[in-house]
Symmetry: C2
Subunit: 329 residues, 2 copies
């Protein structure tokens, strides 16, 4: 059994922007042929997507073909729309959240829903978390930076504290890396920028004290936490986890966090197992976008871990992250 | 035997800046007590350093105590001074280079010298490489970015091509990370910024095509290449090194580069061995600054690699990187 915790959706259509202040970047679905649509943003095709993004029947059939028993579904990251006005962001998030819930309701034993909130306005985002919970979603996906700010900045701390209090899971997904001036090709944005941006924000949550303020928060990071696990030892400041002055121990917090296995190499997954531990890892594939590994547990299984450890990664850990009982399978 | 390839020096004193345009940031040594000095830059103490930075006799004694048979010495990174005018940068680099050479000449079987060039002016830097070679240094240390630019930008390509042609080694050291706006504490600059900056620049050398233009360049990266080896699989674009479209294979180039072992954890070194291969790894300690692991091969030896593989990492690889025969020991 596999639950894929890193899987995205796009609604079949969006409400019209009409005269909204954020109309320019408000997405429009262009269904240019049966089964495929362009997500038009700011007059450009952001991505051509297939109907498995919104059609649950087709999605379940493809999940069967890929060996995915279940998925935690979240919006396509570009839909996070932190560049909207707060009001538009709230309305858009509510629409997307209800769409996610609608998909979950069609397959409640196989799809588990993560929504979104307008973090461009942290106070509003905290209030919207209540609606996310009322709606029955299990948590939210957020970007690795909010309009350029690391997640660990003080003004975002209440968001994480509120999610912790409400028992909502938080999935941090790479978004619009801020170090674009350092990339020499467009491809570096996704290949280098995504994991770099995630890694920096993860570190900021620990360094800035936010993680300590939300001690029971269930939070996961895309792409295996990006660059963070690699530099965790240096972040700790001593060799081989020797005690650091004044109790500084980022390893302890890092091992409270969750990470997907979307690191593209069995050796990199092995490093996560060794450094973070197998209780915090979950299968993530980025389905239905990047050419995902199929079945999504192929590299994990290639490690030859004990069966119960593999089962933790492919199944059990994700339900702990989501904060729900495991469904019967 | 150990050769430490990541070890720095500071001259006992610098020539006076007099009326130079770069006088404000020109360093001044304040020998405030016997055996210790503050490196004053821009009116502030950049770092308090001990006399092992310039006194070869004391340095050799401490190397003996630490089990370091030999070192490749390079300037303290802040001395790279890319913020000087080109002319001041050239004069300062020449002074430092001659100082490094003077230290090497006092212990030519144990100290191997890397200098610096004023990369704020790439054409001038190329010309100065000739002087570095004439002086008898084995290569240069450079920053992980040059005034905010990634090393893989086109205007720096000639520098790497020239170093390749002259047979000079290049050691890339983290310097002034550009993503400072993402750090929520000052400590993040060194702990997160250094390896992040190095990782991005390393990737830029491959993505931008510079590495292909300098196919026999011997180039090494501090802190185990920073974040790069962790995200190399994603950079490659396929799972487990499956062939990528159009021959894109950053793994092949990454395995031509050299990396120090300054990653603060045996598991992280193990990952480098598995991902990059043991022929490209070299002991690096950052002596005499950060509290280094002593002996500097402790974590490498803890891996239990075959003796010949361990010897590659602790000794042989570094002389291949430096491009010189191994000294008798």
């Amino acid at each position: 059994v596999i639950i894929d915790m890193h899987a995205h959706i796009v609604p079949e259509r969006f409400p019209a922007a009409n005269g909204r202040p954020s109309a320019a970047r408000w997405p429009v679905m262009d269904h240019f042929e049966p089964g495929r649509a362009n997500v038009m943003i700011d007059g450009k095709n952001f991505r051509t997507v297939r109907d498995v993004n919104w059609n649950v029947e087709k999605r379940l059939a493809e999940m069967d073909a890929h060996g995915a028993t279940a998925e935690a579904i979240s919006p396509m990251p570009e839909l996070l729309s932190y560049w909207f006005t707060p009001g538009d962001g709230r309305d858009f998030a509510r629409y997307v959240n209800e769409y996610v819930k609608g998909m979950v309701d069609q397959a409640p034993a196989r799809l588990f829903g993560l929504g979104m909130v307008p973090l461009q306005d942290p106070d509003l985002a905290c209030r919207e978390l209540e609606n996310v919970k009322s709606l029955g979603l299990l948590g939210v996906m957020i970007g690795s930076n909010i309009l350029g700010k690391s997640l660990g900045v003080p003004e975002l701390a209440d968001f994480f504290v509120t999610a912790d209090r409400l028992g909502l899971a938080v999935f941090v997904h790479a978004l619009h890396p801020t170090m674009a001036g350092r990339f020499v090709t467009p491809a570096m944005t996704g290949s280098i920028g995504f994991p770099t941006d995630t890694g920096i924000s993860l570190a900021s949550l620990i360094a800035g004290g936010t993680a300590a303020k939300a001690p029971t928060l269930r939070i996961a990071f895309s792409h295996g936490g990006g660059t963070f696990p690699a530099i965790l030892p240096r972040f700790g400041g001593t060799w081989n986890e020797a005690p650091a002055p004044e109790g500084w121990d980022p390893h302890a917090i890092a091992r409270r966090f969750y990470y997907d296995t979307l690191v593209y190499d069995a050796r990199a997954i092995r490093y996560l197992v060794d450094m973070i531990g197998p209780k915090q890892l979950m299968i993530g594939s980025d389905y239905p976008y990047q050419a995902p590994e199929q079945p999504a547990d192929t590299s994990v299984r290639s490690l030859g871990l004990p069966a119960d450890v593999t089962d933790d990664i492919t199944w059990h850990n994700c339900f702990r992250f989501l904060g729900i009982p495991e469904p019967a399978v």
